[in-house]
Amino acid sequence: MIGSLGASVSSLGQRTLAGVEELGRMGLFMLLALRQLASRPFEFRMLLQQIRFVGSRSVVVISVAGAFVGMVVALQFYDTLVRFGSVSLLGSAVGLSLIRELGPVLTALIIIGRAGSATCAEIGIMRSDNQIDALESMAIDPYRYLIVPRLLAFLITVPLLTAIFNVIGILGGWLVGVVIFGLSQGAYFQSMADSVLLPDLLMGFVKSVAFSVIIVWICTGKSFLMHLNRSMVFGAEGVSRVTTDAVVAASIAVLFSDYIISALML
């Protein structure tokens, strides 16, 4: 019994150490990437490719998601507000929910699933296939060539996609509240304008920027550093594992930081 208890404690200790090691490596990874932001030559073509991949190819899914989320939020709030005779506050409720919370968080989660996982897999395959070693051997800094364009692409596109989500979501809410339930259009938009203030917009913007950094950090870092993970296997299985880990870790990190930012800014 003492033997098995010892083994469990030892295993827990090893896992904790491995986790701390990984955290340290990820921190160092981010510092090295940030250090390359000002390096030349700047990979402008790569940046445009990544903006297209992360941004413009996500517009449709973000818009569809935004529309349905806006509609469902309006539906749920209408059902509650009508009991208190406060249906005129529907615009305010939809606007604040989307702009402060649902827009940034749901956009981030969709981007993790779509672009974050693909980016993680792509870099994982490059690591597995010696392509990153090939870049190093050609005297091309892989942080400057691979990571910086992706970091900037996520930083630029995620807040813009969040804005698109919010706008489409507000229109979705209008469709339900005004067109379906017959609320006054003026009341819908006026209540939104009265209650959505600059601090709310700032909160949404700060969240979207923070989430974009978290997504690209975790999704690129996990796969870029997969060869340093003692339990890692290479090939398809390794890339699959690291991609799943990255998606889960990024999603949890987004939700955790959402709470922290909300607590600090409210």
């Binding site: 792509e122 010696n130 392509q131 070693d133 090939a134 051997s137 050609m138 005297a139 091309i140 800094d141």
Partner: protein
């Protein structure tokens, strides 16, 4: 030729002194020393898991040894700053096993990559230089293909074209014949020797393919269990009485010969 330039011509291009390295508690390389002369084809041979790929990674500066020193083109690899290391890497070429082409770029973009990154040449000149190297590798017409569309042999040749596009002083090969049929492998051997003769490169090849090594090598280093088992010309290696070298040359198994009954017993026991 002045005495100084004659001496610099005789100085080894690559010099390794007492290199040792470990992964955790596992000693991978122990006390490896070698030198590679300018213009020679130097082959590093060994069975799978002998440490030859680890040695290659150290020679091109991708890994740092626990102890020992490596000097490449007159520069000590172990003490260089990142800028100095990158300057050195612009003078070498590395052809990885499988080509290691960037997936998202076609063949010509892959080959042009080092020139675009490290020179101020205009687009047309870069394109001409890259096409010349692809023609050398018999890859005319493959410029617009993506890596996923290439065969194993074509991937290696495209990787090789990229490795030589900057006319490096030293060319490193990691398992050039792995996964290739004998005909393609022989063609690649001819290519390696042709590169040394035409472009006056020094070539370091890591391989476990015996026929290939014996055909192209000026000198061979045999590694077994992370240690040097033998170092010399092809004839010297062929005459060596070191057991691990003989095993490599004769492809003997390390197990004693079993009778049919013993073999059947072993299979039955393993199944149970």
């Amino acid at each position: 030729m002045t005495e100084q330039s004659a001496q610099s011509d005789q100085a080894p291009i690559l010099e390794v002194s007492r290199l040792s390295t470990a992964y955790g508690e596992r000693q991978v390389l122990s006390d490896i020393s070698l030198d590679v002369a300018k213009g020679e084809i130097f082959v590093i041979m060994g069975e799978s898991g002998s440490g030859k790929t680890t040695l290659l990674r150290h020679l091109i500066g991708l890994s740092q040894p626990q102890s020992g020193s490596i000097e490449l083109l007159g520069k000590p690899l172990t003490n260089l700053s990142k800028t100095e290391l990158y300057d050195l890497r612009k003078r070498i070429g590395v052809a990885f096993q499988g080509g290691a082409l960037i997936n998202s770029m076609n063949v010509i973009d892959n080959v042009e990559l080092p020139l675009r990154q490290h020179t101020n040449l205009d687009t047309n000149t870069i394109r001409i230089m890259s096409r010349m190297k692809l023609d050398m590798m018999s890859l005319e017409g493959a410029e617009e293909l993506m890596p996923a569309q290439l065969s194993g042999g074509m991937l290696k040749r495209a990787g090789l074209a990229r490795a030589v596009v900057m006319d490096p002083h030293v060319l490193f090969f990691d398992e050039p014949s792995a996964g290739l049929d004998p005909v393609t492998s022989a063609e690649l051997d001819e290519l390696i020797m042709g590169l040394r003769d035409a472009l006056r490169m020094t070539v370091v090849v890591v391989t476990h393919e015996l026929e290939s090594a014996l055909k192209i090598a000026d000198r061979i280093l045999v590694i077994a269990d992370g240690r040097i088992a033998g170092l010399g010309t092809v004839e010297e290696i062929m005459r060596s009485e070191v057991e691990s070298i003989q095993a490599l040359l004769n492809r003997r198994t390390r197990e004693r010969k079993r009778t049919g009954e013993e073999y059947l017993d072993q299979l039955t026991n393993n199944a149970n």
